[in-house]
């Protein structure tokens, strides 16, 4: 009989799948990532506790149901009872779940309170979400004054399938956020354009970054290592491509990193008096372009119109300097074009403007000088 064969096929398929899944689940990442903070550990135990409870209830309820499915069948000539009410039972299965909820609420409340307590930090870092990268500013504590942006470093070739994918595919950045182990770090989150969310699964820390507002969260990493997460609030086209990487190091290593970082920052600061040649400025601009512009306007300069217009052959890009300068520095309202005046230095802005005006088919032959950018900042 065809119906029987449907049932047999289904049972067979379920059996095979069940076995396959249990094998897979052991071999794969299938549970919360190992906890590195106290909060994450608490979240794990809370999760396990609730799962246990839920499993017991599941077995209970569906035990009754499947027994009924098995035993109280018409084709076994089971006569239907006609009762349809029982006040005692109905009261019981209202009150018992209520009691269970109160029992869960107690540990859950403790974790929520701990999670919200960002007071007395050893280190305060502001993280700013941009479309599509993160900016870090070390505000208070050792390393105060350090500031950098952190961009996905996975090459485009890997994403588009022209090169084999590396082990940290989509979870690697050019500059990692570095913090000392065992210290309480308060993260202030904000954003420059749309809402993003800063998340490190191993820390149990996730906080939306909201433009125009500062929110906070905190973590105290108990193990050194590199921890990776991703933006978790849809923030436009490249939402899937703005990872977060935190390197937790010992106190000594941290001090060393702070020293190196400060030196590097001083060294990297461009000499304002430097006289640039067109080629120097173009070469510098190409790097700036690759880090900030390429996601939308593409390496080819062709963009992905109409949302992200082409730069190659654009009249605007090659017109009088003031027009492209205005767009790059102040952004374009109601589009994903950000105001880069706040994100890039005079030299970087001048370089990237020069690059776009003298690359692909664009041949203005002139350059935008850092001094001109400085003047335009006012």
């Amino acid at each position: 009989m065809a119906t029987g064969s449907a049932r047999r096929t289904a049972a067979w398929a379920l059996g095979v799948l069940g076995t396959a899944f249990s094998g897979l689940a052991l071999a794969l990442e299938w549970n919360l990532q190992p906890a590195v903070t106290r909060i994450a550990a608490d979240v794990h135990s809370l999760h396990e506790y609730v799962m246990l409870l839920v499993t017991v209830i599941f077995v209970g309820v569906f035990g009754f149901m499947f027994y009924s499915v098995f035993a109280h069948r018409k084709d076994k000539r089971h006569a239907a009872a006609q009762w349809h009410e029982n006040t005692t039972v109905e009261l019981l299965w209202t009150i018992i779940p209520l009691i269970i909820l109160v029992i869960i609420a107690w540990p859950a409340t403790k974790v929520v309170i701990a999670q919200k307590d960002a007071t007395h930090p050893d280190l305060t870092i502001k993280v700013t979400g941009y479309q599509w990268k993160w900016g870090y500013d070390y505000l208070r504590g050792e390393g105060e004054g350090i500031s950098f942006t952190s961009v996905l470093s996975t090459p485009r070739d890997q994403i588009e399938g022209r090169a084999p994918k590396g082990p940290n595919y989509l979870l690697e950045v050019d500059q990692e956020m570095v913090v000392p182990v065992g210290k309480k770090v308060r993260m202030l989150t904000t954003a420059a354009d749309v809402i993003h969310a800063w998340w490190i699964p191993a820390f149990g820390t996730k906080q939306d970054a909201i433009p125009g507002f500062i929110r906070d969260t905190h973590f105290r990493a108990e193990k050194t290592g590199v921890y990776r997460g991703q933006c978790t609030e849809l923030c436009g086209k490249e939402h899937g491509f703005m990872p977060i990487v935190v390197r937790v190091v010992t106190a000594d290593e941290y001090s060393k990193w702070v020293g190196e970082r400060k030196q590097a920052m001083a060294a990297a600061a461009d000499d304002p008096a430097k006289a640039w040649t067109l080629d120097e400025l173009k070469a510098r601009g190409e790097k700036v372009y690759a880090a900030n512009c390429v996601a939308c306007h593409q390496a080819s300069g062709k963009g992905t119109p109409p949302a992200f217009p082409p730069l190659d052959g654009s009249k605007l890009v090659t017109s009088a300097k003031s027009a492209p300068m205005d767009i790059v520095m102040n952004g374009k309202d109601k589009t994903a074009m950000a105001a880069f005046a706040k994100q890039l230095s005079d030299v970087e802005l001048a370089a990237v403007l020069t690059f776009t005006r003298n690359n692909w088919g664009n041949k203005t032959g002139d350059f935008v000088l850092p001094a001109e950018v400085k003047a335009a900042r006012k």
């Binding site: 449907a6 990442e29 609730v50 839920v54 149901m65 009924s68 109905e90 909820l101 890997q158």
Partner: protein, 530 residues
């Protein structure tokens, strides 16, 4: 139930002159059965469109890397899949059931406002057209997620405006439909059909209609504020002008959480008709079902911010919304226990409608459990906006509601059309759907726990296996729904003639007081119930 049989029911036709034939019959119809049919076919068409978008999503996610679509188009797919499924497929499907069933179940000749009923439906194709046209505007459809969060919406092209107008139209349609349902139930019940004697399906719809009237204007307000922020210089959601992006989320979810129950409650109603019928035993705890449904509806208005645990609310806010949310488990639990108690010591048989009802029970309960996990603010912060949430809401409202819809179609099709569907194929449809849907969504829990964010077109390598399995499941589920189309079309065209009482356990008025198939006009004079 003792009642005097109404034999005028099938005198039917003719009384109202000759209805226009061909396409004009459907455009001008004010008959609740015709309009119900329109709603159901429309929603199934939208289900296929939204489903095709899901296939694109799962195709892109089959492997890491960008293979088939660019990230921008991927975002448009997730946005439109959500909007079309929620507003185009699931909601209209249950309004279709309401149109067909409520007048027959309460012994009314038609809906209270027959002409408005026509309009409620015919607004929908225009709304759907706006959504589809948005793909062909400069910049394409909005890629902001079905929640349409500000301020990303400000960056979108004209497609966003079309979507906003579509939401306005859908809201108008829902509100008119709801007013109609409330009025019909409160005023057109047959003598003796007291509120507490109504089939539970009517109760769930009465409560749902109130939810719709309360919630849809809130959504209309939210999208209108988005529209003025985009074009008229307001800054409701822009901090630079004194606004707040989080305000949008509060307004949206004040609509959005009741919306979940707007989808779920009518599904509960269908299940509460199907399970007793195939258990040959009255619904257990009818009164407590009514109270539980009401309690869920009231609670649904005070839990909205559990969708926003990561925006940075004060600790008191986190705790209030956590406690209020966990409370929903109590009335929801009562419903599940009542359904199981209805089956207990019944005389069960498992025709296709019952299979889908039990399937619903399984999916909905599983989704309810993950809902309990997510209600705990501390755990939710870890899982928010990951695939765990995607799995959760697909179980609880998307697929749960779809299974309830299938249960309803297989259950009432013989009554509506006078023809039986092919039982063997129906069972195949159930088993294929049930297996593939769990393959699709169960593994997404694992991906979410391990840390995969939602709404990303590409993902780190560790999530590859789960995504492959999920995609294969999705393709299977998608194909299985074409089988449903075949089953229904062949049943309507050439199905066996249905017996006068296709299901001996079904005992509401449409089964006991009307012939099979039901005449075009039923209950000219109300049945008298004692």
């Amino acid at each position: 139930m003792s009642a005097v049989l109404d034999t005028h029911g099938h005198a039917g036709h003719g009384d109202h002159g000759h209805p226009p034939s061909g396409i004009m019959r459907w455009i001008t119809t004010t008959n609740h059965k015709d309009i119900g049919t329109l709603y159901l076919w429309f929603s199934f068409a939208m289900f296929l469109v939204g489903g095709a978008m899901a296939m694109v999503i799962r195709l892109e996610l089959f492997s890491p890397g960008l293979q088939w679509v660019n990230p921008d188009f991927f975002n448009q797919m997730t946005t439109m899949h959500g909007l079309i499924m929620v507003f185009g497929a699931i909601m209209p499907a249950f309004v279709g059931f309401a149109n067909w069933q409520i007048p027959m179940m309460i012994g009314a000749p038609d809906m209270a406002f027959a002409r408005m009923n026509n309009w409620s439906f015919w607004i929908l194709p225009f709304a759907a057209a706006l959504l589809v046209i948005s793909f062909f505007t400069p910049g394409g459809a909005p890629g902001v997620g079905w929640t349409l969060y500000a301020p990303l919406t400000v960056q979108m092209g004209i497609g966003m405006d079309l979507t906003i107008f579509a939401v306005h139209l859908l809201g108008m349609s829902s509100i008119m439909g709801s007013i109609n349902i409330i009025t019909t139930i409160l005023n057109l019940r047959a003598p003796g059909m007291t509120l507490m004697r109504m089939p539970l399906f009517c109760w769930t719809w009465l409560i749902t209609a109130y939810l719709l009237v309360a919630a849809m204007p809130v959504l209309a307000g939210a999208v209108t504020m988005t529209l003025t922020d985009r074009h008229f210089g307001t800054t409701f959601f822009n901090a630079a002008g004194g606004g707040d992006p989080v305000l949008y989320q509060h307004i949206f979810w004040f609509f959005g959480h009741p919306e979940v129950y707007i989808i779920a409650l009518p599904a509960f109603g269908v299940i509460s008709q199907v399970i007793p019928a195939f258990s040959r035993k009255p619904l257990f705890g009818y009164a407590s079902m009514v109270y539980a449904t009401s309690a869920i509806a009231i609670l649904s208005f005070i839990v909205w911010a559990h969708h926003m645990y990561t925006v940075g609310m004060p600790v008191q806010g986190q705790l209030f919304f956590m406690y209020a949310t966990t409370l929903i488990a109590v009335p929801t639990g009562v419903k599940v226990f009542n359904w199981v108690a209805t089956m207990w010591k019944g005389s069960l048989s498992f025709e296709t409608p019952m299979l889908f009802a039990v399937g619903f029970l399984f999916l909905f309960t599983l989704g309810g459990f993950t809902g309990l996990v997510l209600s705990l603010a501390a755990v939710d912060i870890q899982l928010h906006d990951t695939y765990y949430v995607v799995a959760h809401f697909h179980y609880v409202m998307a697929i749960g509601a779809v299974f309830a819809g299938y249960a309803g179609v297989y259950f009432w099709l013989p009554k509506w059309t006078g023809r039986m569907y092919n039982e063997t194929l129906g069972k195949w449809h159930f088993w294929l759907s049930a297996i593939f849907v769990n393959i699709t969504f169960f593994v997404q829990h694992f991906a979410g726990l391990a840390g995969m964010p939602r709404r990303i077109p590409d993902y780190p390598l560790m999530f590859e296996t789960w995504n492959k399995i999920s995609s294969l499941g999705a393709f299977g589920f998608g194909l299985a729904q074409l089988l449903f189309l075949y089953i229904i079309v062949s049943a309507i065209r050439s199905g066996e003639k249905a017996p006068e009482r296709p299901w001996e356990g079904a005992d509401s008025l449409e089964w006991t007081h009307l012939p099979t198939p039901v005449p075009h006009h039923s209950f000219h004079t109300p049945p008298v119930l004692k």
